[in-house]
Structures are given as structure tokens and as C-alpha cells.
Symmetry: none
């Protein structure tokens, strides 16, 4: 469990960190707001933030963080606050709102509830099937094997493959893939996902030429689904009384 705390109230923060430490959580403390993207890059699970210290730009900042790091649990902790403020904060992307002073145990319990809620849903994604066609995906090795031979995937390549294979048959949008693997929102025009899919296809094909694993859904994203290639394998086939005009039927369902 990784926790970020953005607050200048040293008393509150200290108590919180002590308690979190004893639970085995890792804490990172900020006294001034870092760029919103930083939370995403840090891979923390949750953020406890006192909006008061952010001043006038607090709402924008809150929204920024919630947008850039959609996987981040956000717990706002403030002194006095109005109902309208709390409603606004919760609508804007905060997952919980607590009022100081409060018992650190409760604060952490609420952080835990927020993170649990999120993990619960995403845990179903991570469970990858181990084998698909000639492919074997081994999470313990961060590697995929084609017919027993390693595909030499890099870490990112493996993560993309694991994600896609973990929801076999479902189309994942680039943005989803990026958020899951990279941990934060994709910048406009970023082609990283495409490039990694290409590398993946290349490596998978060289190890398992008879199968196609990753399919493109134009305008949407990619889908993992092992499919036997039917393409011209029999090259030297002499026509000699063969029935080559097999290419007629597909026209029926085409166009």
C-alpha cells in the first residue's frame, strides 16, 4: 500500500504517518502541491489531501488529479467545511471527505475502504489465463513462451500482453490500456500503445507464426484472441485439378 499525503498540518500528518507505518504502508509526504501527473507516475494507491492549503486553485487541482490519475483514491481532509464544499469535492472526483480533527485510525480505515473498492474491481482484470493457443503467459516470470521458447518480451511489452490476454475476447481502448499499464492518462497523440502492439505482434509471430493473437478494431482499440492463420501456407501447391476458386464465398458476407 502506497500512500501520499499533501498537508502542512504537521501534527495530523505525523500521527497519520506513524500509524500507517505500523501497518506496513509506505508514505510519501508533500507540503506543497506537486504537478498532478506526479501522483500518477509515483504509482501510489491513495492520496490524502487538505484542500485548505491549496488556496484558490484547489478545485482545479483536485479535478486535475482525479482526471490525470483515474486509478488514484482521493481522500480530502479539511478543517471546517460546508455541505456545498463537500458535495462539490465528492462530485469532482474525491472518493471521501473527512473533517479534522479526526482519529487517525478512522482516516486510515477510510483510505483503506477507498483503495479496497478500487482494487476489488480491477483485480478481476489482472487474472491472466496462463495459456492461449501456442502461447504461455507466465506472470511469475514476466515472460511469454511460444511453444516453450521465450519470446524475449520486455517488461512493458509483457504488461500490455498480460492485460490484453487477461480480458481475452474483449476490446480494450488505447486509453484503457495506457491507464492500466502506464498508470496515468495518455497524452493526446501518444502512439506508444500502437508501437508496443506492433512489437508484440512481431515477437509473437516469430515464435508462433501460425497464429494471430492481437486484433485491431479500427477506431476503437485492440483485442486478444488466438486465431489460426489460414493464409497461403501451401505455396508450392500445383493447381492440377485443384479447386482454387474457394475465394468465392467470403464475398457473401463482405462489403
Amino acid at each position: 500500500m502506497q500512500l501520499a499525503i499533501l498537508d502542512t498540518d504537521s501534527g495530523f500528518v505525523q500521527v497519520l504517518i506513524n500509524r500507517a507505518d505500523s501497518l506496513g504502508w509506505q508514505c510519501r509526504r508533500f507540503e506543497a502541491p506537486p504537478p498532478a501527473e506526479e501522483f500518477a507516475a509515483m504509482r501510489v494507491n491513495a492520496l490524502v489531501v487538505d484542500l485548505a492549503l491549496l488556496g484558490p486553485g484547489a478545485w482545479d487541482y483536485l479535478q486535475d488529479v482525479a482526471t490525470v490519475a483515474p486509478g488514484l483514491g482521493i481522500v480530502v481532509a479539511t478543517g471546517r467545511s460546508s455541505v456545498a464544499q463537500r458535495v462539490r469535492g465528492l462530485r469532482m472526483g474525491a472518493d471521501d471527505w473527512i473533517t479534522k480533527p479526526c482519529h487517525p485510525e478512522e482516516a486510515l480505515a477510510r483510505v483503506e475502504a477507498v483503495v479496497r473498492r478500487r482494487k476489488q474491481a480491477s483485480s478481476r482484470i489482472d487474472q491472466a489465463p496462463v495459456v492461449a493457443a501456442e502461447l504461455e503467459i507466465r506472470a511469475d516470470q514476466f515472460q511469454a513462451f511460444a511453444s516453450g521458447r521465450s519470446c524475449d518480451l520486455t517488461r512493458r511489452e509483457f504488461e500490455v500482453l498480460q492485460l490484453l490476454a487477461g480480458v481475452e475476447g474483449k476490446v480494450l481502448q488505447r486509453e484503457e490500456i495506457y491507464q492500466q499499464v502506464w498508470g496515468y492518462s495518455m497524452a493526446h497523440g501518444d502512439r506508444s500503445v500502437d508501437v508496443f502492439v506492433r512489437k508484440l505482434r512481431q515477437k509473437l509471430e516469430s515464435g508462433s507464426p501460425r497464429w494471430r493473437y492481437i486484433h485491431t478494431h479500427f477506431g476503437v482499440g485492440y483485442r486478444f484472441d488466438p486465431e489460426l492463420r489460414e493464409d497461403a501456407a501451401p505455396i508450392e501447391v500445383s493447381d492440377a485439378g485443384t479447386a482454387p476458386p474457394a475465394t468465392v464465398d467470403p464475398a457473401a458476407l463482405l462489403r
Copy 2:
């Protein structure tokens, strides 16, 4: 948004329901705890519950519900409560804990936050495929299947179909369709919707010839409603290549 409320505090409940109604949420009210499984069966998104009225078995009940309906957002609302109680409740599966009296707006904002976070990750997981006659519309694949075979719909085509099928039986005006799918207002004279309906009909018919799915309402718009074709072309005419535009007659029985 479907909300269940388990509480006997009629004042609180009434205000909550009024506010929720005005947001367009559907509410279901309980004064006594139903079997935990019922919440799962009801397909509600969230449950607001006052533990006080559950008496001694409250904790067990809470845990039951959290276990049986893992997709349910649980917001506990009580009068006075101790830190230890709140911590226990949150650890046990509650997603949030609010103290009465509280502003209904805040209560609903918290419910919203809970459900939002939950949906975010699981949105694309539990989308039940929609089936209509020989058609199966799978949101997770951005694709429709006729008798198991993909119709090769493009993204826009799929979105139009999904929209129409989602309000099955209801006539949608072109302007409505355009705004929903394209996201902005249709320019005067734009025929895009018509063209897409045509492509859809074409692809659907080639995969499921015996059914008509999209009906035209002259001067109004389009309606999705699977209907068995009666013409059935009792023709012994061998199709001999592609059937010529024999699709003339069905127009007669249009509605």
C-alpha cells in the same frame, strides 16, 4: 442509478428519496433487512443503511451483504457512533460512513462517489450482451453478431445500432441519434444518419436475412424492433451469384 435504502428514520429517508428522485435515480426502500442475497438480485448500485435498526446482528449482516454482493456500494448512515465502530464498519466492507443528521445532498454525493469509483474499473466487465432475435450486441467487443458471426460493423455503425437497440421499440429522431452518437448537433441537410442506417440494414441482412431490425417512420426517424420477414421469398429461383435487388417487395409491408 438504482439505490436501496434500509432505514426506519422516515424523516431522513423521505428527504433522501425526494432528492434522489429529482436526480432521476430509482429508489427502493426497506424498513426491515431483507436477505442479503436480495440486494444482489435487485441489481441496485448502492445501499444506504442505518446499522442501528439492525440490532445485535448488524455486523454480521453488513459482512454478509458485502460478501454476497461484491459489486454493491455500501454507505452506512447512523446517528452517533464511535471511531471504533466506524473503523470496524469500513474494514468490514462498508465504502463510506456518514453521521445523521446530515444534508441529503452530501449523502447522495457520497453515494455517487462510491458508485463512480466502482463503475470506473468494472464498467466494461459486466456488460451483459443484448440479444434480439438472431442478433447479439456485445458492448465489450463494439460489435454485433448474427447467429454467431461478426457483422463487421464499424465503430459508428455499432454505436448507432447500440443506441437504437438500447431503447428497443422506441422511435428515435435523426437529430436525437446524431446528438447521441456524434456528440453535437446535426447540420441542416446532413444525411449521415440515413447513410448509416442503410449500411446497418445491409450488414444485418447479410448476416440475418430472415429478420428486419430497423424500421423507418416517415417524417420522424427510426425504430429498432426485430420482426420476422414474411415475404420469405418462396422462390425456387437459384440465387445464381448475387441475388439482384430482389429487396423491392418488403417495402410494401413497412410500418
